[in-house]
């Protein structure tokens, strides 16, 4: 039985098969409309997450399956003190597959150890969020036609942003990727990632100003500076507007550069950029459904 805890649970060959399937679903949705007839997905969300939960629910519904679950720990037995291990044993009797989000790191892994159905990590604190990384990779592959040979700029909160760390770890497995990290000093990429890149001989650069590197980028991955990552409001207010992507900066970029963002955005991408054909973040949300559809079919062994 396959559980999905990290994007690195898949080999690059397995990812190719997964993304081929996602692209086929995109092209031929009718072919898959009843692929999960009679199957039930449990969405166990111990903390609120509109986007991830709804994309899982949309994915299962589009496959013909049904969805049960809860969207907040206060609506579950966790509020009565039930452990994750006990909850998943119960859920295993109700559903065929489970997507779990939990504020504590490692909770989905604990669930997977006790579960008799596949568990997909839908985000565990600041640790892993594999389906976001799979969404990012599918978007890049679908819109660029490849997952190798490019320069990617990652901008914003590179210290706490789990989507950034996860994407870097997934991309280093492909050929000829160059990273440019654009962040204020306070939010730089953690040392362990820099050490890993050095050890693998992967080229990277750390810069302060987004304008300086725009012309070099094939991809720009923007992130939100999250209020909850800061210990005090003063630091948050000082840094939140540090990197705002607007049409002036976009004018410096290549014509085929893509802008990605895990969403939700606050103000780090000006709304005027939305109409630029290089803005890929809303399409990225759509790929999030296709990749979750492909993932559900793969872990349920229905493809």
């Amino acid at each position: 039985m396959k559980h999905v805890m990290s994007p690195l649970d898949f080999t690059t060959e397995e990812l190719t098969r997964l993304f081929d399937l996602a692209n086929d679903i995109e092209q031929n949705p009718a072919k898959y409309a009843h692929a999960c007839d009679g199957k039930i997905l449990a969405t166990c969300f111990y903390e609120p997450s509109t986007r991830t939960r709804l994309s899982f629910e949309s994915a299962m519904t589009r496959l013909g399956g049904r969805v049960i679950g809860f969207s907040d720990a206060s609506c579950s037995s966790a509020s009565k003190g039930e452990s994750v291990s006990d909850t998943i044993r119960i859920i295993s009797s109700y559903a065929d597959i489970c997507a779990m989000r939990h504020p504590k790191e490692g909770a989905p892994m604990v669930a997977s150890e006790m579960s008799s159905i596949p568990v997909i990590n839908a985000g565990d604190g600041g640790h892993q969020h594999p389906t976001q990384t799979l969404t990012d990779l599918l978007t890049i592959r679908s819109m660029k036609g490849r997952l190798d040979n490019f320069t990617i700029g990652l901008c914003g909160d590179l210290k706490f942003g789990r989507t950034v760390h996860s994407l870097i770890n997934a991309l280093v497995r492909y050929e000829n990727i160059r990273f440019i990290f654009i962040s204020p000093e306070e939010l730089k990429v953690p040392d362990y990632i820099i050490e890993m890149l050095k050890a693998k001989g992967i080229p990277f650069e750390e810069v302060i100003r987004l304008e300086d590197v725009m012309p070099q980028l094939d991809l720009l991955y923007m992130t939100r500076v999250q209020k909850e990552r800061f210990f005090n409001e003063e630091d948050y207010i000082r840094l939140k507007d540090f990197y705002v992507l607007d049409t002036t900066k976009m004018a410096l970029a290549k014509e085929d550069m893509l802008v990605l963002h895990p969403l939700p955005r606050v103000n780090e991408i000006s709304v005027e950029v939305d109409n630029d054909p290089r803005a890929a973040y809303f399409k990225q949300a759509r790929y999030g459904v296709y990749v979750r559809m492909a993932l559900i079919l793969t872990v349920l062994d229905l493809c």
Binding site: S85, H102, E105, G106, V110, G125
Partner: protein
């Protein structure tokens, strides 16, 4: 010079870093064994200057080499039978250790679910880095519960 007598069957742990013998005593749970234990602290050593030595008279299968290797894989383990050294064990870093150290990451699931075991896996053998199986937090020597 202090003299501690020979043991007939058991093990002698030599080249323990000076001052560490009591924590090894605890981790090996020697207090739970009904046998003779000699703890020698700050013995003179040509190689180390000062060292600790533990002599334990017990069934030689009772020693948890994994725990010992995690604590210090440079310790020499002499296996004694009929008063003679019959084997010297080479300690290898264990791939996984369970309930020896605790994960101190307040965001880890083990911080709220008390019944979960604290499992650490060897993430980098060369640098001797262990990470929590659940949250992947790196284990730091300073937080070693020993």
């Amino acid at each position: 010079m202090l003299n501690v007598g020979k043991i007939e069957e058991g093990f002698v742990l030599d080249h323990i870093k000076a001052g560490k013998s009591l924590s090894i005593y605890e981790h090996l749970q020697l207090d739970k064994l009904d046998c003779t234990v000699a703890i020698i602290k700050n013995a003179r050593s040509e190689k180390m200057g000062k060292k600790d030595i533990l002599k334990v008279e017990c069934d030689i299968n009772m020693l948890d080499l994994d725990v010992l290797a995690f604590i210090d894989h440079n310790i020499t383990v002499n296996v004694i039978k009929d008063g003679e050294i019959v084997d010297k064990k080479i300690l290898v870093l264990p791939k996984q250790i369970k309930n020896v150290i605790k994960c101190h990451n307040p965001r880890c699931i083990t911080s709220i679910e008390q019944e979960l075991p604290h499992i650490f896996v060897l993430a980098d053998e060369e640098k001797e880095i262990y990470r929590c199986k659940y949250c992947e937090e790196k284990y730091h020597e300073g937080s070693k519960n020993k």
